[in-house]
């Protein structure tokens, strides 16, 4: 296989994602774990760029790194006693490892050509095998995403339902956080 620059970038971003993810679960310092989570999310954003999905990449950085991971850090900083903690909190890692292996197996079977012989079909994006030429890459613009979210034949119903869910979650959070006397 020819080593293209995209391939090198892919390996770097994969290493960031996987290495960051591994460090999240192995780090004993919870603050460092959160920082590695950011690294992992950043690698994912890089993978989105390689998949020609710049909108997803920017949103990944803005929402996941810029907001969610920062809030995780914020919560950690507020629970100061957790910071010096160097022992693991519980003994559930074998179960977690088992769950991870099962998930990995399912993904391998369903999303890659490995599962062809067993399932007879797969949901992979028609990965090119040695004989084929690479499939045509379709570039989806932000405009198309927007149109899909706001047209009847697109995803307007799921989009609105999710918006409603998020709004109710927001109101719920305010109600929970509110002082009793104000209600």
């Amino acid at each position: 296989m020819e080593l293209t620059w995209q391939a090198i970038a892919f390996f770097i971003f994969s290493a960031l994602t996987l290495g960051g993810g591994f460090a999240v679960v192995t780090q004993r310092n919870i603050f460092h774990a959160a920082l590695f989570l950011m690294l992992s999310l950043f690698g994912t954003a890089g993978l989105f760029v390689l998949l020609i999905a710049p909108f997803l990449a920017a949103v990944q950085v803005l929402v996941y790194i810029g907001a969610i991971a920062i809030l995780v850090l914020f919560a950690i900083m507020l629970t100061r006693r957790l910071m010096g903690l160097t022992i693991s909190l519980n003994q559930q890692w074998p179960a977690a490892a088992l769950a991870m292996l099962v998930l990995f197996g399912v993904l391998l079977l369903v999303l890659t050509p490995v599962g062809d012989d067993i399932l007879g079909q797969n949901w992979s994006a028609n990965l090119p095998t040695d004989g084929d030429t690479a499939p045509e890459v379709t570039y989806i613009t932000v405009r198309e995403i927007g149109v899909a979210f706001s047209t009847q034949n697109g995803f307007v119903l799921p989009f609105e339902i999710v918006s409603l869910l998020l709004t109710s979650a927001l109101i719920g959070a305010i109600v929970v956080a509110r002082e009793d006397e104000a209600i």
Partner: protein
């Protein structure tokens, strides 16, 4: 640039990588050297606002003052206090500068000169800008210092809150243009600048950006008088200089982005044909905006943290949401004008759309400011009543001085009225 490397005999892929690399280094270096000048501008302007002379020893008008400062900072030791979290502590200034320099990539300097015309340029600006928060949190936590940590707390609250009006007000020019690409946004402003369509959005964008870079009156992150220097209290030498550099560069880049989004970027007479003129126009516009930011910085006192939050959540966010809805409504109701004629013809064709949006935007500003004023009057009324009650000793505030006569001790106030 890529062509030169291909001529030198490099393989096509390698030539592309090397050519882009050189372009990146040149562009980033130019912008990284800018603060040497803008720091002088800032010190001089600040001095004039405070009725001082400012730097005037090194070079004419003290213009070379920053060079000895840089040399001095380079010579200082980077002190590593005991018990700091080394990796976050040392990584933080680097991430800070990198996040700011990344913004440069999407700034259209001239019709043909742009780092990369991403189809999501405007969104890229916001998402890269949010990375500075991480650097500040890492510095605040890694320093192992309570003031630094307090600074980091405030940062998270402030930056995440002000991101919301920032994104909403950014959405408005995007709505008008119908594209997130910075170059398309500039090309749209060929007739009228976007600030003429939506001045209110422009003001909200500038205000929330000043908050996002944490400058006065939003400089609670640093707040010399309370937190000494907030998250960068423990830093010295070049690490401190990098935070400083990042802050100044970010402030200037915000002015540049504002000029690109609202003041027409490189647009100006003859800019289409002579790229250098485009760069000159953008520079002039950016420095005017930068001066306005300095003006605000030197004039207004610092906010209190609860005022800062209330101003964002109860004023900027609702106003920007209403503005987005109104602009979207008007824009989709109006027919697309015929923009095929000459420049003057297009000026006429575009005018009705512009005028209607301008009116709507001004109405939004006036109504929201009136509401704000009404609220302020109510608040003033309430406060004067409370003060009067306290003066006549009717208000159960405290019992200091006459504790023997009264045994009513109510600490919480304000719930009674």
């Amino acid at each position: 640039m890529v062509g030169i490397f291909e001529d030198l005999g490099f393989e096509a892929g390698l030539a592309a990588v090397l050519g882009n690399l050189v372009g990146v280094v040149v562009l980033a270096t130019v912008f990284l050297l800018l603060p040497i000048f803008t720091i002088w501008v800032e010190r001089k302007v600040a001095a004039r606002f405070q009725n001082r002379i400012g730097p005037n020893r090194v070079g004419p008008y003290g213009i070379l003052q920053s060079f000895p400062d840089v040399v001095k900072l380079l010579g200082k030791e980077l002190i590593l206090p005991r018990n700091v979290d080394k990796i976050p502590y040392l990584l933080s200034p680097i991430i800070m500068v990198a996040a700011v320099v990344l913004i440069v990539a999407v700034i259209p300097l001239a019709p043909t000169i742009i780092g990369t015309d991403l189809s999501i340029g405007a969104l890229y600006f916001v998402s890269v800008g949010s990375l500075t928060t991480i650097a500040i949190v890492m510095a605040g936590w890694g320093s192992n210092n309570k003031y630094a940590l307090l600074g980091a707390f405030r940062t998270v609250a402030q930056l995440i809150s002000y991101e919301i009006p920032l994104v909403f007000s950014l959405l408005i020019p995007i709505l008008l243009v119908g594209s997130l690409s910075m170059q398309t946004i500039v090309e749209f402003q060929d007739t009228y600048w976007i600030i003429f369509y939506v001045p209110t959005a422009a003001v909200i964008f500038l205000v929330s950006n000043i908050a996002e870079i944490g400058r006065a009156p939003f400089d609670l992150i640093e707040a010399e008088s309370e937190l000494i220097a907030g998250y960068m209290i423990e830093y010295s030498g070049m690490a401190f200089a990098m935070f400083y550099l990042a802050e100044f560069l970010h402030a200037f880049l915000v002015a540049v982005i504002f000029s690109v989004l609202f003041l027409g970027g490189w647009q100006g007479p003859l800019a289409q044909d002579v790229p250098v003129l485009g760069i000159a126009y953008l520079t002039i516009k950016s420095f005017i905006v930068y001066f306005a930011m300095l003006w605000v910085r030197m004039t207004l006192p610092r906010f209190r943290i609860d005022h800062l939050m209330a101003f964002n959540w109860k004023f900027l966010v609702p106003v920007s949401i209403v503005h987005v809805l109104v602009t979207a409504g008007i824009w989709s109701a109006l027919p697309e004008p015929d923009l095929s004629g000459g420049w003057f013809a297009r000026l006429g064709e575009e005018f009705p759309r512009m005028a209607l949006n301008l009116v709507a935007s001004v109405v939004i500003a006036v109504v929201s400011l009136r509401l704000l004023r009404q609220y302020a009057e109510q608040e003033r009324q309430r406060l004067s009543e409370v003060t009067a009650m306290v003066e006549h000793k009717q208000y159960p505030l405290a019992t200091t001085g006459q504790g023997a006569q009264s045994n009513v001790i109510v600490v919480g106030t304000g719930s009674g009225d």
